[in-house]
Symmetry: C2
Subunit: 640 residues, 2 copies
């Protein structure tokens, strides 16, 4: 055997190859044609390329991605281990053999059709938080012999007006090699960090056309991620998944209590894993490398942002309800475990209070409520229902604990707005049921917009009364099962799941409680401000319902006040929309900061009236029918 | 055995103790009365508390401070490992048993007497780069319910006018616990980072009286560190050591070549280890904890700063001689391996060019040359001799490759200015030798100031001629040994080392080459600028000679021009003096940046005249005796 060569054998494939000493095991596996998982492309950040050294020796860099016990068993990271000696035998363990199975709900691909390709509204000047610029530097000479980093800064400043420019040692260390190896033609990636600009990466050649970011709406129940091309400001793709923190509790409070006893780590790891899976799905589908993703921007409620950043959420739930941080600074994404470019940044939009999060700041930004001339209301329906009221001069907000019913959770046949979800329901005068599903195929369940429709239609048809009670005599579809009444929407023979799709009496009560919580919030807020519903000139209804929401039925349900229909607009997921606006324009991010500082938070818990209002709103459309004059005309006699 | 208790046995001491599950091994060792090394006090940063698990199991945090092979053998860090199970047996390996022996040259303690306690000149307003402020925050209420970090920022801003304030996630994460556990009374440590201020630490209670920093002069041959109390701006202590990079080459260029073939890591590790040893010595002697040292500031030549920061030094030595970085940003000291508070900062003064470093910027700052009305010259003699000329309107500088002879290196009986060094020599008219040593004890060798004296005195006494040749007939002390002439300064019977202290013919030639290189630099610079020696109104002579330098003899030697004696001032180590000024005042640091930007570097290599000037300057005092009129009158006839 030649002196500088090492024989490397991969088991169980039993493939052997001869490589130079110092070659990494990952490189050797590629040359041997043996597939070993690797997501980060050899940067030592994904920890996927695990191998077990069976014989021989390797030089391996220290890593925290392997557990102590694994190291003892001989586990190494292929990309971080260089072969030495004469012979090395390694085993490719099962988890490293096939491409990591991405645990994304397949249905979530539905979101792609909805959002992509969708250009964002260009209200703000295009100033992305992370930007790449291509520079052709003059090579140094005895006459122009400034240091590499001074040369780089000089030429960046000739193109950009930057007051405070910073860069870490890691980037400075790369300069001499990259500058000289690329003939002084390089691409610098600039990231905005507060009042400063950081040179977060310098690459050889012109890579300006490869600059991507991911915007994430971190919801209590659903996590939605959009892939953005920072050059074209296009949304290239979208993906969603349920928040896997759900196993630690459906409600935020439950999860906080879990974190208090078991530590925040598991909750952080769960959401980070969800986000990483979403990112990997998005980039694989679009032929983008992790290294080309330079930023992630997150919106979400305050607790979710706390979990994501590893901040103790405990005081959010205890009087006087204090967040650790409402304006999280941009941090290295890798610091919380998000796997993009190792120097890439994680931005979080600012929150407003413990129970009104960055998702609402984003919603105010996206809808332009903060600059409205007339009185405007934003109602964002997620696991909590947040209500914002105001205009360019003042803003107030509150949060109503609605529960996840409108997200399809806690409802027998409920599901997220994804393929196969019933999103629209009509009951004809003859009592015939019509419905449409997302994607058009056989139904699998009912999403939020479908649930609103069903309750409203059942009510208008007289199948339920004003308290939501199913009338067993009203229609043949009302039946008793498991000791309670239910309404059969789609029989098993016509569903994709071969199970009946139903609405039970308990489901109806759940949904009425949810809508009552929100309407009570609206009512308390208007009463406190001494505002009449008719003073409101615009209502934005936001939420992850899908691409459809019947505003007539939302009013019939009593979810929002009985106002002129033309002032109500369904705006979808404004959390991610606002996050994308901030990602594409520092001006938008600055505006988000201003919004979160200028808004007044009303804590509904301190309003004794709230519970009465909630009880009164549990009827259809409301105990006080005078509040819903246009609805009562349409409802069948029997119901009232 | 009780359920939650673990029996822990320490070998070889065979001490057993029962502790609660989850107790760290370090804590257990303390309770068992078994000494285990730990410098960082359990923060997991020093890596000194190594133990070997022989039986039982521990939960241990991932660390990069243990090698893979060590982990396989069962090594753990005691402070990072919590016991579990019923019984744990660990071995305390020899390296963890006794306090780590600090490998500091004992002689270096000499520096303490020289510098401590010495208050810095207060020219600049006191604005230390790292400052602690004590805050009593009002606890939050429903009316004042802003986030913890907003509350902290609000109260810092009430005390300090800070435009851009930043803090890392790690500090934000500590807030809820620290604020509530210390009754909202905390100490924030603020570090200046470029145009921003970073909150680098928040501690409970008032710790403002414990705020320390270390200033380091990273010389090619000698590394000097001063411990500073940032509250009183006092130099508390000083310590020095030889640069252990010496094994990779005495000259900077040799070390760069070594780095090119073997990588920069070993050179970085060597200097980082030196600095860490100096810091540990200083803080142990002064009862300070590593966590209380919040900053390190370094001055040094450009190559040393490159090595320290892990920057590729290769292009420093290749035309057109380009540094990677002349204005290194403040970085986390831990990032380069310097062990102070884990969030503490490492500042580097700005360099001027590849061969004129931050030590010269510091020297200009310390001497005030940059604001002088009259023409001033600074000559800093280290392993290179740097010359600065100018005033408040303009400054030029150059670097002459003198070699380390004046630092006692490459000279048979040479040594650093430390205890036992001959620092002063006189030869009386009768040929009697008089000398004094640092510390007053028996001589061990000759330091720089002694070497200058000897050559000058030998010359004046006529024992050497103008070319430096020893005259074998001049004096009984001139003798032949090992095939060359040498002058016996102190016979072995009177030295501390029991070896003769001599000056050999080769030593003299070495020293003449060194002084010729420096004088030629001065001469080229003045000629280029069309300046006469008599135009120079002030000469600062700097270097680590000790506390004494005979300017008359320096002129006799021809090291500096024959000017009026009263304009020559020996100023000692201005590198560390300037570093300390910058540490204590941001204004001084800003001035250092201005100095390094406003000075013009003359590369002596591009002056063909330089080699001729060098040859001409190798005589005593110079080939052109007309340049040294006052000297020639004093020299004995025989020598001329």
């Amino acid at each position: 055997m030649k002196k500088n060569k090492v024989k490397v054998t991969f088991l169980p494939q039993n493939e052997t190859i001869e490589v130079e000493k110092g070659t990494t095991l990952l490189e050797a596996s590629i040359r041997a044609g043996v597939y070993v998982n690797s997501i980060c492309g050899g940067d030592g950040i994904c920890g996927k390329c695990r191998l077990i050294v069976k014989k021989g020796d390797v030089d391996t860099h220290p890593t925290t991605l392997l557990a102590r016990e694994e190291i003892k068993k001989g586990y190494v990271l292929a990309c971080q281990s260089e072969v030495k000696g004469e012979e090395v035998i390694v085993e490719v363990p099962p988890e490293s053999r096939a491409a990591g199975k991405i645990l994304i709900d397949k249905d979530a691909q539905r979101f792609r059709a909805l959002y992509a390709p969708m250009k964002e509204r260009v209200i703000f000047k295009y100033k992305p938080l992370v930007q790449k610029i291509y520079l052709e530097l003059p090579p140094p000479s005895l006459q122009d012999n400034i240091a590499d980093h001074v040369r780089l800064y000089r030429h960046i400043r000739r193109r950009k007006d930057i007051v405070i420019m910073q860069s870490g040692l890691k980037v400075i260390r790369t300069l001499p090699h990259i500058l000289r190896n690329s003939d002084w033609k390089v691409t610098a990636t600039l990231g905005i960090r507060g009042g400063t600009v950081e040179v977060i990466q310098v690459e050889g050649g012109n890579t300006t056309d490869r600059n991507f970011a991911v915007a994430v709406d971190v919801g209590t129940s659903t996590v939605v991620a959009h892939l953005i091309n920072l050059n074209t400001f296009e949304t290239m793709d979208a993906e969603a998944t349920y928040n896997s923190q759900m196993v630690y509790g459906e409600e935020v409070t439950r999860r906080i209590i879990y974190a208090e006893s078991k530590g925040e780590d598991r909750l952080r790891e769960a959401i980070v894993e969800d986000i990483n899976n979403l990112i990997i799905t998005l980039i694989s589908r679009n032929n983008i490398r992790l290294n080309e993703v330079m930023a992630v921007i997150c919106a979400g409620n305050t607790a979710m942002i706390h979990f994501l950043l590893g901040l103790n959420p405990s005081h959010l739930r205890k009087e006087p309800y204090i967040p650790v941080c409402t304006y999280p600074p941009p941090v290295r994404a890798a610091e919380v475990g998000i796997k993009i470019n190792p120097r890439g940044l994680l931005y979080s939009l600012p929150s407003i209070a413990s129970w009104v999060g960055a998702d609402i700041t984003a919603g105010i930004l996206a809808t332009g409520l903060y600059q409205a001339d007339e009185l405007t209301m934003l109602v964002d329906i997620g696991t909590n229902g947040e209500i914002v009221m105001g205009n360019k001069d003042w803003m107030v907000c509150c949060s109503a604990s609605a529960g996840p019913a409108f997200e399809g959770s806690g409802v027998r046949s409920g599901m997220r707005a994804a393929e196969g979800a019933i999103e629209k329901v009509r009951i004809s005068d003859e009592g015939r049921i019509q419905y449409t599903t997302i994607g058009g195929g056989r139904p699998r369940g009912i999403c939020g917009s479908g649930l609103i429709d069903i309750i409203a239609e059942l009510f208008k048809a007289g199948f339920i009364d004003r308290s939501g009670r199913l009338n067993p005599e009203a229609n043949g579809r009302v039946r008793e099962a498991n000791g309670e009444l239910e309404f059969l929407l789609v029989p098993s023979s016509r569903t994709a799941t071969k199970r009946d799709i139903v609405i039970t009496q308990a489901d109806i009560e759940n949904l009425l409680r949810a809508k009552a919580a929100i309407f009570a919030g609206i009512n308390v807020l208007t009463k406190t401000l001494n505002i009449k519903f008719s003073d409101i000139k615009k209502i934005y209804l936001a939420g992850g319902f899908g691409n459809y929401l019947d505003k007539e039925n939302a009013i019939t349900l009593g979810l929002i006040p009985d106002v002129r229909r033309d002032i109500v607009q369904f705006v979808g997921n404004t959390s991610i929309l606002g996050a994308k606006m901030a990602l594409l324009s520092k001006d938008a991010l600055d505006t988000a900061y201003k919004i979160s500082k200028n808004i007044t938070y009303y804590d509904l818990i301190t309003y004794p009236d709230y519970m009465n209002e909630f009880m009164a709103a549990k009827f259809l459309p409301h105990t006080d029918v005078g509040k819903f004059p246009t609805i009562m005309q349409k409802v069948k006699k029997g119901a009232v």
